[in-house]
Subunit: 128 residues, 2 copies
């Protein structure tokens, strides 16, 4: 049996996939995969996710060109979470930051932005 | 309003929390927090999670001594995922590995173990 068949998908058939940048170790984002999007990720070596709101597959970077080239796919002891190491082209975050985790909670429980914006989103996604 | 009140918890009141080791950048584990466990994490500077199966709070390391001392708490652009940087005492994984992500999917879709076991679980959790 293949590993993709043995993972523990949730009631909606999904597992969270943590995306980490090779080299820097920066955690870039978390998104959801189902068995089919994981199989497409393994096959194409680019990240495919399942959009819970749009109920469709999405290739990361399809619109922006900010694709993720897969270097390694790990899974956790419970078999219900993925850790995927990638080479990130451009910004992972749709808000234009390298990482979606560009904000932290400060000691007084307010918010600080911890990294510079790489690109203006309107230049890669078009104006709405 | 505090940040913990503004995050987007799922239908069960939970957000996934990715735990990353300070310094090495190793992603150690993923577990779930609700608003109260996040508040306890902020207050105590050690990681508290919500066990979905046991329906109770758990302090990471309460039995094993392998606690996580919190260094930073980030959250993603959608406000529905946490990235917590910690100093990890001992092994994060209950199977005795530093990281729960100690297995990877190989090119032929079999499994390889990618790191040495740090401790024998029976020595920290007792024999069952």
């Amino acid at each position: 049996m293949k590993v993709v068949d043995e993972l523990k998908y949730d009631a909606n058939g999904l597992v969270p996939a943590i995306i980490q940048e090779e080299g820097t170790g920066r955690v870039l984002m978390m998104a959801w995969m189902n068995k089919e999007s994981l199989a497409k990720t393994i096959e194409t070596r680019q990240t495919w996710f399942w959009s819970r709101s749009r109920k469709k597959f999405w290739l990361k970077g399809e619109t922006s060109g900010h694709v993720q080239n897969v270097k390694n796919i790990a899974f956790d002891c419970d078999g219900d979470c993925l850790l995927i190491t990638v080479e990130q082209v451009g910004a992972a975050c749709h808000e234009g930051y390298k990482s979606c985790f560009f904000r932290s909670i400060t000691g007084d429980e307010t918010v600080k932005i911890t990294e510079p914006k790489l690109v203006e989103p309107s230049t890669v996604y078009g104006k709405k």
